[in-house]
């Protein structure tokens, strides 16, 4: 008995198993009580415990299940920040729930189980299952409000998501055809089916990251769902999708870097330009934030372009570090700004509805301003340092033209982020705000963290040493 319990193949799964058991326990408890406070605290505590269980790994490179499961500090880092994003959203999610909190939080924990699995998977089947686990969970979460708008958003999300699933399955089959395995690390594959797999998998996984041309669902879904859920959709699940893209395209397609490079450069340029220009003319606050997260996804996938397009080791290290750092910062700046929408007591929040909040609550206005400056990449916020490393990797990878396009885009984005700031400090007494602690607390926390996280640059050597856990061979 003892032998099985300490068998490394099983201990590797402890965090997932633990969270799964808690989630089922919650569903059972639903017969007794519907108090959201209890479920919120259980969810938070169990997520914290799972973090402790995860940190126990601390190994650089161990693989299980025939190479399908790779325990590395790199995966661990992403697993941890995805849990952090769940923790961040959990608190404010509880307060907005009307009924059946146990179902919500159980689903929430299941999503986390899938996320942790995804962080360590090196096999397309594993990744697909984990990815679907997250997708199905978030379909349920986004439909949770039961109003017409929630259902509409969820339906859009669901139907487009299903199509993406189809693409992933088809892409995986082509991948298998080319390589003879589902493992991401494989021998030299055949070119024809591999390129088809590249396109199909790109469409499937890129869907979740809302890359152009698979972006429109995101705007509608973020707009329609409740604020905590849209915060979660745009932070936690986006980081997951980004991580999967890194794994699949940088490890799985390591023999086809030229094609990966061209694909991602084109998509990245189109995505960020589209996102920024669409956000410029958008008056609805949530839709504006949605377009801005599309643009941010465009910056994120520049990392894939750098790694596939340049042979410099330094560029590789900095790019992956930028990916890690950007993801961490992204959770707070994006999650925080979506949660802040809850401050306005309205269904469809316009940017102008924030008028006068700077006078009623300077704390709110300053915090949201910090998040906006961070999204725009203005120092001394963490968002700047994330962009700094991103553009450093582009320059050291000799991709100056891509850096110029990216940086011009980030200069354009300043327009709509600053509009939010100027609006907040206008004088207007007619707007009503909900400045209770569930709205204020996460926002202020996010603002403080976006400043504090700038100091992560002190830990560059430690963090950059784990980038090899990505699994890219020959670097």
């Amino acid at each position: 008995m003892n032998n099985i319990l300490i068998n490394p193949q099983l201990t590797a799964m402890y965090p997932e198993i633990f969270l799964g058991i808690v989630a089922f326990g919650m569903l059972l408890m639903g017969k007794r009580t519907h108090d959201w406070k209890i479920y919120t605290s259980i969810a938070i505590i169990s997520l914290l415990i799972s973090m402790v269980l995860l940190i126990r790994f601390d190994s650089s490179y161990v693989s299980y299940y025939g190479g399908a499961f790779l325990i590395s500090n790199f995966g661990l880092y992403f697993a941890l920040i995805m849990i952090v994003s769940s923790l961040y959203v959990a608190f404010s999610a509880g307060t907005t729930l009307r009924d059946n909190p146990e179902v919500f939080f159980a689903t929430f924990l299941f999503v986390n189980v899938a996320m942790i699995i995804a962080a360590f998977s090196m096999n397309l089947i594993f990744i697909f299952i984990a990815f679907e686990g997250v997708s199905v969970g978030t379909y349920i979460l986004s439909a949770y409000g039961k109003t017409r708008r929630n259902l509409e958003a969820s339906a859009k999300y669901f139907f487009t998501g299903i199509i993406a699933t189809g693409f992933i399955v088809l892409g995986s089959s082509y991948y298998y055809m080319a390589t003879g395995t589902f493992n991401l690390i494989s021998g030299v594959p055949e070119k024809g089916p591999m390129l088809i797999a590249l396109i199909l998998l790109f469409v499937g996984f890129g869907f979740k990251l809302a890359l152009v041309p698979m972006q429109q669902w995101a705007v509608d879904a973020y707009d329609g769902t409740s604020n905590p859920v849209s915060a979660y959709l745009s932070s936690g699940t986006k980081v997951l999708a980004f991580f999967i893209l890194l794994r699949v395209f940088l490890v799985g397609f390591s023999h086809f870097y030229t094609d990966v490079f061209y694909l991602f450069v084109i998509v990245s340029i189109i995505t960020m330009t589209y996102g920024n220009f669409a956000a410029l003319s958008e008056n609805n606050l949530k839709r504006m934030l949605a377009y801005s997260s599309i643009a941010q996804a465009g910056y994120l996938i520049l990392v894939i372009a750098v790694v596939s397009g340049s042979s410099s080791t330094f560029a590789f290290t900095v790019a992956i570090f930028a990916a890690m750092y950007y993801s961490l910062v992204y959770i707070f700046m994006k999650g925080g700004s979506f949660l802040s929408v809850g401050a306005v007591r309205k269904d469809k929040v316009e940017v102008n509805d924030l008028e006068g909040i700077g006078i009623k609550s300077p704390l709110f206005a300053v915090s949201l301003s910090i998040l906006m400056l961070s999204l725009a990449g203005i120092p001394p916020t963490a968002g700047f340092f994330a962009k700094y490393y991103l553009f450093l990797s582009l320059i050291s990878g000799n991709l100056w033209w891509l850096a110029v396009i990216g940086i011009l885009n980030s200069a354009i984005s300043v327009f709509y982020y600053l509009r939010v700031i100027t609006v907040m400090f206008r004088k207007n007494d007619s707007n009503e705000f909900n400045l209770s602690s569930p709205v204020m607390l996460p926002l202020v926390l996010a603002a403080i963290l976006t400043i504090v996280l700038s100091f992560v640059i002190f830990y560059y050597p430690q963090l950059s040493s784990i980038v090899y856990g990505l699994g890219v061979m020959g670097r």
Binding site: I378, P379, I395, P461
Partner: protein
């Protein structure tokens, strides 16, 4: 460590100003006065008998593997500009006592000063860039919250223009960093190491000339936006006009110094890399700015807008001086470049005097248009005198600070570009003409009785403006006070 102590004190002061509710104006004034005094003491202690290089060098390594460290060093150039920013911030905060601004206004003003100090003392490119950018945020807030008509549009325009400039600055810094790392296998962001023309020629210009152009484009673009120079200036009139007066003083006196500082701290050390084509382009841009802005200013009736253009016009001299410095060698180059640096200092102080006296005029009479104002000498003799003094200094009257700078630049220019200096002279003549014309219309002539009875400035205001005027006068009569150490610095860099 002295300068770091001043810097830390500024952080404390900025926080204090945000925190204390009561009598925020008094506190902020005292704070900025204290900073000014400390800066002067620092300058006297460290810069008597200055012989080049950086004083108070200090470095705290944050991350050696990627070259980030908090490196501090003060050259004569930084010292002159530190003095200028301390004076300007003190004046701006002091005169703002005429209107009731709240505590966050003063907090933001001191944050701006903090950013300027950080920029001027940093010798690490990351911190240079962080402060370069960080200055924009408080200024943006100051314009967009406390400004007049069209404040939001003006603030946004200001931010976006300077932001587009800064991102190219970032790309240039990253390029230098990346090439240095590849060449020497050491990653550093130390400005003294990266701004080394022999390194750039050997590892960038010769193997990959494209990257040199890329690098120089980024630097020039971002500095020219801040100056502002001719094609990149359209944020200027709106920002100056919409900003509240104290912020206009800061914009004209302190924010414009950033472009000049970039020219002489970043581009001057790598001057051998800059080709003569680029140098000519800079000179022509400078001359064009000078003439064009002077002509535009001539047709303004709003005096604040007019002086905004006048300020931009005199920044044209700085572009000219850098271009001349690159094209020439030896004594002529020293003369041109020192004149350029002196011009930043003189221009800032003069604009401080002009805008603060204009502010008092606007605040008492309610008008800043030279159509309604006339004969102000009768009602406000003392403030009118200060305004006249500022205008005279601005047009380059001998004996005042502006003359020294313009004379050295024009003298040096003649040796290099010959008769093309006719255009510079032409710009100076236009400048003189509309300056005199403005004075004639607003200060002289019959008094416009519709303005009613006006009160002259208070004793305190007169004292502070006299202090500012005396500095301008001293720098005009005895320029070696700064000119000498600037010359030593320039000789060391070239």
């Amino acid at each position: 460590m002295f300068i770091i102590a001043i810097f830390l004190l500024l952080i404390l002061f900025a926080i204090l100003s945000f925190a204390i509710k009561e009598s925020s104006w008094k506190i902020a004034t005292l704070e900025s006065l204290l900073i000014l005094i400390l800066t002067m003491v620092y300058g006297i202690l460290r810069f008597t008998g200055y012989n080049g290089g950086f004083m108070s060098s200090y470095s705290y390594a944050i991350d050696t593997s990627i070259g980030i460290s908090f490196t501090v060093g003060v050259s004569a150039l930084s010292m002159a500009l530190l003095f200028l920013s301390a004076v300007i911030m003190f004046i701006a905060i002091f005169v703002s006592g005429r209107e009731k601004f709240d505590r966050s206004f003063y907090g933001l003003m001191l944050t701006t000063e903090l950013g300027l100090y950080g920029l001027l003392i940093s010798r690490n490119f990351l911190f240079f860039y962080v402060f370069w950018e960080a200055i924009i945020i408080p200024v943006f807030m100051l314009i967009s919250i406390y400004g007049g008509a069209g404040k939001e549009k003006a603030a946004l325009k200001f931010f976006v223009y300077t932001q587009i400039g800064s991102v190219f600055l970032l790309l240039s810094i990253l390029t230098l960093f990346s090439f240095y790392g590849t060449a020497n296998h050491v990653f550093t962001l130390n400005m003294s190491k990266l701004l080394d023309s022999s390194f750039i020629i050997k590892y960038i210009s010769e193997p990959q000339p494209f990257w040199t152009d890329f690098l120089l484009f980024g630097f020039f673009f971002s500095f020219l936006v801040k100056m502002p120079s001719f094609p990149l200036h359209s944020w200027l009139p709106d920002a100056y006009t919409s900003a509240p007066y104290p912020v206009s003083i800061v914009l004209a006196g302190a924010i414009s110094l950033m472009g000049g500082y970039g020219f002489f701290a970043v581009l001057l050390p790598i001057a051998p890399v800059i080709g003569s084509g680029i140098a000519w382009a800079i000179i022509i841009l400078g001359i064009f700015s000078l003439v064009y802005f002077a002509l535009v200013a001539m047709f303004q009736t709003d005096m604040k807008r007019m002086m905004a253009y006048a300020s931009a016009a005199s920044m044209g001299f700085i572009s000219i001086s850098l271009g001349i410095g690159i094209l020439s060698t030896g004594y002529i180059a020293y003369l041109a470049v020192s004149g350029g640096i002196f011009q930043i200092l003189a221009h800032g102080l003069i604009m401080g005097l002009v805008f603060s006296s204009l502010y008092i005029i606007k605040n008492t009479s309610g008008s800043q248009s030279n159509l309604t104002l006339s004969g102000l000498f009768r009602e406000m003799p003392i403030i009118s005198t200060f305004f006249l003094a500022g205008i005279m200094a601005s047009l380059g009257l001998p004996g005042l600070a502006g003359f020294i700078a313009e004379a050295s630049i024009v003298l040096a220019s003649y040796q290099v570009i010959g008769y093309i200096i006719f255009f510079i002279i032409f710009g100076m003549i236009i400048t003189a003409s509309y300056h005199v014309w403005t004075v004639q219309k607003s200060l002289n002539g019959p008094y416009n009785e519709n303005l009613g009875k006006l009160k002259d400035g208070t004793m305190m205001e007169i004292a502070v403006l006299s202090f500012l005027f005396i500095i301008i006068l001293i720098l005009g009569i005895y320029p070696s006070l700064f000119y000498h150490m600037i010359l030593v610095y320039v000789k060391g860099v070239f």
